[in-house]
């Protein structure tokens, strides 16, 4: 373990453990949604914690969770790059131009009085995981991890306005998928 030599301080390790390990489930959840693969998610989270320990000395905030998430996101992006360079692996959807096009209006055809159906957890997980990036990432940080727009903006390295428009699109897409699911279920 190359980083270990530089981090052989038990007191620092204890502080790191106290501060970072409580967020393990959160980090793993984010990695599962970003990478959509349990094994890759485990590897990414482990790499994230190694990097975090390495930089823990210089850590002065923000809150621990967004700090870990920013590291984790970088690890996941490296994994995307690796997948993209492996011809057999599925190339992930990153429709950059989707951000430029206006919001989807297809949900407006549904009657305004129609209420959304309640789906089970497995279906909701699947619908969220099916969202395209970068909308999925923003959506998960907001709806599942309850981070503020400012925290999300810092993690994804984009202005708050971009976070807001990505979230708008993510929710519009999810609403459409949510209603389309009903058609399947019939």
């Amino acid at each position: 373990m190359p980083v270990k030599a530089a981090n052989d301080d038990p007191e620092k390790a204890r502080r790191f453990r106290d501060a970072a390990l409580p967020h393990l489930d959160d980090a793993y959840t984010l990695a599962r949604y970003l990478l959509r693969d349990p094994v890759d998610a485990e590897d990414a989270v482990q790499e994230c914690y190694l990097r975090a320990l390495k930089h823990f000395d210089s850590y002065r905030g923000p809150a621990m969770k967004p700090w870990l998430f920013a590291i984790l996101r970088n690890v996941c992006r490296a994994e995307f790059a690796r997948r993209a360079s492996t011809p057999t692996a599925p190339i992930d959807d990153v429709p950059e131009e989707a951000e430029q096009t206006p919001l989807w209006h297809d949900a407006q055809q549904t009657p305004e009085a129609q209420m959304l159906r309640r789906w089970d957890s497995t279906t909701i997980r699947r619908l969220v995981a099916a969202l395209a990036e970068p909308f999925r990432e923003t959506f998960v940080l907001r709806e599942i991890h309850d981070l503020s727009y400012r925290e999300i903006a810092e993690i994804v390295g984009a202005p708050v306005g971009t976070v807001m428009s990505r979230l708008a699109r993510a929710r519009a897409m999810l609403r459409s998928a949510w209603m389309a699911e009903e058609e399947h279920a019939k």
């Binding site: 301080d9 038990p10 502080r15 482990q46 914690y49 969770k65 789906w119 909701i124 727009y149």
Partner: protein, 254 residues
């Protein structure tokens, strides 16, 4: 306001990120636009259903073990000789402390140690599912609960109207002494307000520090030391501290 603008801004409304002026503008638009109103209703409903569903994943035990194993191990159990030496040192320190000299020298060190203990107590409260011993949003229930458990009656202030929901109280241990913790919630963020007695009755103005990613706002007033700990942003924690102190001054504590 047009539908295109409202379609973006209504998300900030749902997420509580909109200022008063824009909130008014969006609400006015929605009142007259059934299509945007339906969207707002659906997005709120979706958020609620997602919050109520089990959409998180639990890290596999094996992953936890792997990360633990990659951390440097804890210090070895101290040898008998080291324990004895520590004991001798301790006696020397106590003897000096009696003169009152060391107390001043040690103070900043002590402060740092207690701060780190307060953060650890905050973390424990989040981890162990042991946030509160008494669950109540009523200050008149929380305050009497502390009776007989502590040598000091911690003031319990209801700040729900100011955006900080009182959720209960807890007995914790800091600096090897029982200490009262009053628990508040702001959105999904927990605030632990630790209260301990101090010999000094002078008022010390609040200052905020960051430790391990938590903000700690510390102040003293009327013989009590306060530490408010949370992962809330520093400005919001400052708002909490100010509201608390204002309420204390106006005498609304339960």
């Amino acid at each position: 306001m047009t539908c295109d603008e409202a379609e973006i801004l209504l998300h900030a409304l749902i997420d509580g990120e909109l200022d008063a002026g824009n909130t008014r503008a969006v609400e006015d638009h929605i009142a007259g636009c059934p299509r945007c109103a339906a969207q707002l209703r659906d997005y709120r409903e979706m958020s609620k259903m997602i919050a109520g569903a089990d959409v998180r994943y639990k890290a596999p035990l094996e992953l936890r073990r792997r990360i633990e194993a990659s951390l440097p191990q804890q210090a070895q159990v101290p040898s008998r000789r080291a324990v004895l030496r520590g004991f001798a040192m301790g006696s020397a320190v106590s003897a000096l402390a009696a003169t009152g000299l060391v107390a001043i020298v040690l103070r900043s060190d002590d402060e740092a140690r207690i701060q780190s203990e307060v953060v650890s107590a905050h973390l424990r409260s989040l981890q162990a599912g042991h946030l509160t011993d008494v669950i109540s949003t009523d200050q008149h229930t929380v305050k009497p609960w502390f009776n007989g458990k502590l040598d000091v009656a911690p003031p319990v202030v209801d700040l729900t109207a100011q955006g900080f929901t009182l959720i209960g109280g807890r007995l914790d241990y800091v600096d090897a002494r029982p200490i009262g913790a009053i628990v508040y919630r702001r959105r999904a963020h927990v605030i632990n307000l630790f209260v301990a007695q101090t010999a000094s009755t002078e008022r010390r103005a609040a200052k905020t520090e960051t430790l391990q990613g938590f903000n700690i706002r510390r102040w003293s007033d009327r013989g009590l030391n306060y530490w408010a700990v949370s992962d809330l942003a520093a400005d919001e924690l400052a708002e909490f501290g100010e509201k608390f102190e204002t309420a204390m001054r106006s005498g609304t504590a339960g």
